[in-house]
């Protein structure tokens, strides 16, 4: 069956360090599957990689229209990779709309693979194009490979018993085969995947496998390409067992793991919202781990149910995005006041208001730290990549349980839907932090603090420990108090407890020179791009360093000393400068430079590199 032994032996084979490829087509064209298969196969051949799907904002926009375009970008590399890549090297465009929407991102001199079968006049009209971009000269400067995929698939499947319509649905596997040839990937993994996927529909297995093979063969036979490429396996990847994982998936698993490590039942209260809904959906499938998911009537009920769960002795959790966060402020205050553990997940999207639900932004930072009535401090940590989401979900659980506090876990659209290979942690890497419940009345006080500043947790059901709590100010015994000194003291204690979290986290490492002119500070999902950008700039000989903040509130210890070693600290962030504001207010004596980007799109590596260059040349 396979002919992948010596792929395209006649044509020149060129080695590449890394490639960025984007598949784009109509929502119905199966681009997500194509992308995922390419990813999977590339992982198996040993590349490092990162991916980013780009779903249309509409559920199903009319076929062939620009809003209906669905995309999937991946970068695969023979070295460590931190982002899905800036500009694609190759754009696969299944129709004119896909071409029109994506062409502006393609690298100069990049390859366009266009399915000419879908470039009829009617197709151009649906894409609101007056002329055919394949012929009007607008693609000058790119290498355009035209393939009538529709016809080729029809030919390849002429013997198949499938209907014409169903045959055409195999187009994406033909396309995938073609790209496998171009980048010298084996067909077997996808062949196997098809066999399993459609195991009850042999005619579908057959047709899709045939299409895949036909696409692969076409590279060679039709001499569409002047040559093809190889991206050797990455050699700097740590050894271990890997799987590919998306950000929200990893985050959900981290929440289950975190609760397990705390020896608590995870109870999620959530209300669907893009791009957080998949956390609720993932957790709903973990029932055999004892996970309870409550799909609440709104975001307020969701967090209140989670607080109720924590009150009852579980680990309460809630997941949402910006508009939902805005609704949870009052209840967060109650969790702060009653000092119950709680994990609040915010998958940020572009605001203000409903904003651009499918676009990325980091603009909920200030809301997370300050968006509540009263002096109401709460730890905030931020996820930098899909795999980081697993680790930080556990970290959020740890802080919540050890400090009896609500914790905000920030992620964003970019991380949530992005994917990367995950080196599976061994069980020894996961340190338990079991919660303890008090059951003896002797010496117990509801708000008596331990060395961390944390209060004891009593589980209702425990005889002799009956107590009442609430959101009114209270004294150490838990009784309502309006005594002025008590309020000052309790306010201080709540503040101090959150500050104490800093003592439980490491000072972040500086990568690159330990002192110098410029330090780039990243937080959340800018982390990967900053890494890539700084590495590039360093390779170009620039004296620049980087640091990444995982814990954004309280700030880790030692930052002041580190910042003191640099003349300037640049903070790229996808908002109007929110982290810069936090830094200035905490350490006004350092020179922070804000580098905001508010387009709803992640930074490009080149933007980081250019900024570094311009700052260092001043």
């Amino acid at each position: 069956m396979t002919t992948t032994e010596k792929p395209g032996a006649e044509l020149p084979l060129q080695q590449l360090d890394h490639v960025v490829i984007r598949f784009a087509g109509d929502s119905g064209d199966g681009m997500q599957i194509t992308g995922n298969q390419f990813t999977h196969t590339s992982a198996l051949v040993g590349n490092d990689l990162a991916t980013l799907p780009d779903f249309p904002a509409e559920i199903r926009a009319p076929a062939g229209t620009r809003p209906g375009v669905s995309g999937f970008q991946l970068q695969f590399s023979s070295r460590d990779v931190h982002t899905p890549g800036d500009a694609p090297d190759v754009l696969v465009a299944m129709n004119p709309a896909a071409l029109a929407v994506n062409i502006k991102d393609l690298k100069k001199g990049g390859i366009v693979v266009a399915n000419t079968g879908n470039f009829k006049d009617s197709d151009l009209r649906k894409a609101q194009l007056e002329k055919n971009p394949l012929t009007d000269g607008s693609l000058e400067g790119f290498r355009v490979i035209e393939v009538d995929i529709n016809s080729r698939v029809a030919e390849a499947l002429s013997e198949s018993p499938l209907s014409t319509k169903d045959k055409q649905r195999c187009k994406n596997f033909y396309t995938l085969g073609l790209m496998y040839w171009v980048y010298s990937r084996p067909l077997e993994p996808t062949m196997e995947w098809l066999a399993t996927k459609f195991k009850n529909k042999p005619e579908l297995v057959d047709a899709n496998q045939k299409a895949l093979q036909a696409g692969f063969n076409a590279g060679d036979i039709h001499e569409l390409f002047q040559g093809h490429y190889e991206v050797p396996k990455a050699t700097d990847l740590p050894t271990g067992t890997y799987r590919n994982i998306m950000g929200n998936q990893a985050l959900a698993m981290g929440l289950v793991a975190g609760a397990k490590l705390a020896n608590l039942q995870p109870v999620l209260g959530s209300y669907p919202i893009t791009p957080a809904s998949t956390i609720l959906e993932s957790l709903a499938a973990y029932k055999h781990y004892g996970v309870v998911t409550i799909q609440a009537e709104d975001e307020i009920a969701a967090i209140c149910a989670a607080i109720g769960a924590s009150y009852a002795g579980a680990l309460g959790m809630t997941s949402t995005s910006g508009p939902g966060m805005a609704l949870k402020g009052e209840a967060m205050g109650l969790a702060v006041s009653t000092e119950l553990p709680l994990v609040i997940v915010d998958i940020q999207r572009a605001g203000p208001s409903t904003g651009m639900p499918t676009k990325v932004e980091q603009s909920d930072l200030l809301q997370s730290i300050f968006g509540r009535n009263g002096d109401t401090p709460m730890p905030v940590i931020a996820v930098s990549s899909p795999t980081d989401a697993f680790a930080l979900a556990i970290e959020a659980c740890r802080i919540a349980v050890q400090y009896m506090t609500p914790v905000i876990l920030l992620s964003d659209n970019f991380v949530a839907n992005g994917a990367e290979p995950w080196r599976l942690p061994s069980m020894d890497d996961l340190k338990p932090f079991p919660a303890s419940f008090v059951s003896k009345p002797e010496g117990h006080q509801t708000y008596k603090r331990d060395a961390r500043g944390s209060r004891p947790w009593v589980k209702p059901g425990t005889a002799g420990m009956e107590f009442r709590i609430g959101g009114l100010e209270k004294d150490t015994d838990g009784n309502i108090s309006i005594d002025p000194d008590n309020h000052r003291s309790m306010t201080d204690q709540r503040h101090q407890k959150v500050q104490n979290v800093a003592d439980s986290i490491p000072t972040p490492e500086v990568f690159g020179p330990q002192e110098g002119d410029l330090l780039i500070l990243g937080w959340g999902s800018t982390g990967g791009i900053i890494t890539q950008g700084v590495q590039t700039a360093q390779a170009q000989g620039h004296n620049v360093s980087r640091i990444h903040l995982t814990h954004v509130w309280p700030l880790p210890n030692g930052l002041d000393e580190i910042f003191g070693r640099f003349k300037a600290i640049l903070i790229p962030e996808m908002n109007m400068g929110q982290m810069t504001r936090v830094m200035r207010s905490e350490m006004p004596h350092h020179n922070f430079i804000s580098y905001p980007k508010v387009t709803g799109q992640p930074f490009l590596t080149t933007e980081i590199v250019d900024k570094i260059e311009s700052l260092l040349s001043k």
Binding site: A43, L44, G46, P238, T239, G240, T241, Y242, R243, N244, I245, M253, V256, A257, K260, V267, G269, K287, H288, Y289, G290, V292, I294, A296, E297, A301, A302, C304, A305, A306, I307, G308, A309, Y311, A312, G313, A314, G316, E330, A331, L334, T338, R423, L424, M427, P460, G461, T462, A463, G464, M465, E466, F467, R468, I469, G470, G471, L472, N479, I480
Partner: protein
């Protein structure tokens, strides 16, 4: 803990009760403490959850577990508590403002979900704690601080609302009748699922004797009917008045002709029919059990699915969680 018999006093917390002298809340508290002693409740198994309002101070005064949460959200907290530990006996205390104004949606949703909690709504037709603004149960024309020319908002009927939300148990009682309260608490307690009780409650400061025409002691016997499942619909000081159904309507009749009350019919319409009697001059105000049906209980199903999942897939271990999906090796 031995299960020594506890007395009413054992359910009194050490907190000083701070309602206004004469407030109807005292009588409800006393009735509840007495009922808890009589039912042989265990303080440690009991949680009182409330929102904000005079009424919502209730949990502080019960020597059980208690959670005085935020305004209007008690049902959501209670849902989280029950989904975590269905063994706990959870009672929600709310007011007409807490439960029907800011908290109307959570009340509606807990009723439809049928979480096994008991809800006591103290209806004084006023916002007490914020010093006397009209509430969503105040009749049109109520002149209070925020409605100097009379309120223009049509009120909710709490029991009709609960029925419209497909509540599985709906009842009404009054703060001035300790016996009736006890009986109603017991009926709610026996119900498996969400039990909603409206308690007409006198706010002596801001809405004194708003119920003087209906459930006040002097007129109660003639102006109200106690609806008891399976019993004839008879009322009046001399038990001489009756009610019966006629087509779409309920109508007065003699005691002999009175129909039998059944709050457990398939459709909830009869419950709504009687709950709307107050609007109707010739008919009495309904007290007692208006609705009572058996339906699946939310948290029971939640936990059942977990049990089923475990039975099918085995108890999930940390290791399985991480080592899932399609994997590959890098050596």
């Amino acid at each position: 803990m031995t299960s020594a018999t506890l007395t009413k006093k054992d359910f009194q917390s050490d907190q000083e009760v701070r309602w206004c002298p004469g407030c109807g809340d005292y009588a409800i508290l006393a009735a509840m403490q007495k009922y808890f002693a009589e039912k042989g409740a265990r303080p440690e198994k009991t949680v009182f959850v409330s929102g904000i309002g005079c009424s919502s101070r209730f949990p502080y005064y019960m020597n059980t577990y208690g959670f005085h949460t935020i305004h209007g959200r008690a049902p959501a907290f209670a849902t989280g508590i029950k989904a975590t530990n269905p063994e706990l006996d959870v009672w929600i205390v709310t007011g007409d403002g807490d439960g029907l104004s800011i908290g109307g949606n959570h009340l509606a949703h807990i009723l439809r979900r049928n979480v096994d909690v008991k809800i006591l709504m103290f209806n004084n037709e006023i916002y007490g704690l914020t010093k006397g603004q009209y509430s969503p149960t105040s009749p049109i024309g109520t002149r209070k601080k925020s409605s100097p020319m009379g309120s223009v908002d049509r009120p909710f009927n709490p029991v009709a609302f609960a029925i419209g939300c497909s509540g599985t148990f709906v009842a009404r009682t009054v703060d001035n009748d300790a016996k009736h309260m006890a009986k109603t608490f017991a009926a709610a307690d026996a119900h498996k699922g969400t039990a909603f009780i409206e308690i007409l409650q006198n706010c002596v400061i801001f809405n004194k004797d708003f119920y003087s025409d209906t459930v006040a002691k002097p007129v109660r016997a003639d102006q109200t009917i106690d609806l008891v499942p399976g019993e004839k619909m008879i009322y009046g000081k001399d038990k001489d008045k009756g009610l019966r159904v006629n087509g779409w309507d309920i109508e007065p009749c003699s005691a002999e002709e009175a129909g039998t009350w059944n709050p457990s019919t398939d459709a909830s319409a009869p419950a709504l029919l009687v709950s709307n009697m107050d609007r109707n001059p010739g008919l009495p105000t309904p007290l007692g059990v208006l609705r009572s049906i058996d339906e699946p209980v939310y948290e029971t199903s939640v936990l059942q699915q977990i049990d089923e999942a475990v039975a099918k897939k085995g108890e999930g271990e940390l290791e399985d969680l991480v080592w899932s999906g399609e994997t590959w090796k890098v050596d």
